[in-house]
Symmetry: C2
Subunit: 200 residues, 2 copies
DNA sequence: GGGTGCATGTAATGGGTTACATGATTCT
DNA sequence: AGAATCATGTAACCCATTACATGCACCC
């Protein structure tokens, strides 16, 4: 019994259900479409593609190309579509992803507040950037693919990212305020606190 | 060069910096304090504790107990504290956690909207429950540990979870609306769409 | 001449969960 | 009688990333 059914093969099926693609294309496509909540490495993609072919869930054909390696184009079979639908029906169970930043915040009393300030600021920057990308993606979906039946679903996924990132940014602002207060309080208080250890 | 420095050992150090504990205690403590964004299994805890002891970052002593296995109580050393502070200073790099529910939403056009409705609803239920737990935790920290210098940091970590969960719940409501509209539209439209395949 | 993109894949390595093994005590 | 709690740990397995290997074309 596998511990976690992993979904690495299933996302390939899912994308191939939209259009036939090569392994390389799949990697690109994943980064572009679901990159904000999912990633796959080649080390996962190629072996899984093999397994899918062996199981009859995709068909593969080779295209000769001058100067480049053969392109192996994979297309989903009817059995593949069925498998995909089955998988989509299985309720995803809630997981607890690990969050290293939060862990460092939780343990923050062990270091100067400035350390956490820097971490939170850099997190803000990177999340602002991805939020902007997401906004652009949303626009693009509406503009270029608005009529496709899958478009509403893509937008739901994007919307999730937008709301989550907004929440993170709000948290970051709040947290920076608190941290700066702590820092100011420390600077004002008489005791030296360079090394926290020893004060019980 | 390790691909991801993993932090499984560091969280142990971090908790042991608050008070000496056994491996069993650590597991409990992790669930209780940072369980909403971090988890560790025994298969991780015990071997790491060994490594920490070997590296001189914790000291371990055995306590005999009648009828139970010996309790191995670990306490952090000065070197351990230093290591912890170093690790806390390293900026956490942003990661993209995988989100199976979102993947299923993204691919949702392949199945009846009712399937996604069920998934989103069950996600709402579970997230509402953890939000309530978090609210309780926040209260408890303020009430019972309010004077501890680490309390503000604990509250920041909790706050993150609260804001994120609120965002998720807002998204879930929006999404349910959209899905129900799609479902209604489908029911009204004349074509049979049981099996989506074939309609390009 | 060197970087980037296209295009395939494998091997090594590591991180983590699950299942197993043991066993007394206490609660239901 | 049986389940849960205390308490330790190991082994098997799996999932995933990284690094490596190859090689042409195109652009700067």
């Amino acid at each position: 019994m596998p511990k976690r059914s992993s979904a690495s093969a299933e996302i390939l099926l899912g994308l191939l259900a939209m259009e036939p693609m090569s392994g390389y294309d799949l990697a690109q496509s994943i980064r572009a479409s679901v990159g904000h909540f999912w990633n796959e490495s080649y080390g996962q993609i190629y072996p899984n593609l093999r397994k899918l072919a062996k199981g009859g869930l995709v068909n593969s054909r080779s295209e000769r190309q001058a100067g480049k390696p053969d392109r192996h184009v994979h297309s989903i079979t009817e059995r593949g579509r069925q498998r995909l639908r089955e998988w989509l029906t299985v309720p995803p169970q809630p997981e607890t992803p690990r969050n290293e930043l939060l862990l460092k915040v939780f343990l923050g009393a062990q270091v100067e507040p400035e350390v956490l300030v820097a971490h939170v600021e850099s997190m803000m920057r990177s999340e602002r950037a991805t939020l902007q990308k997401l906004n652009a993606t949303a626009q693009e979906i509406a503009a270029a693919h608005g009529k496709q039946p899958a478009a509403p679903y893509w937008l739901m996924a994007v919307r999730f990212g937008q709301l989550e990132l907004q929440a993170h940014l709000r948290w970051a602002e709040e947290t920076l305020d608190s941290l700066r207060q702590i820092a100011a309080h420390r600077a004002a208080s008489p005791q030296k606190r360079r090394r926290t250890h020893g004060d019980k």
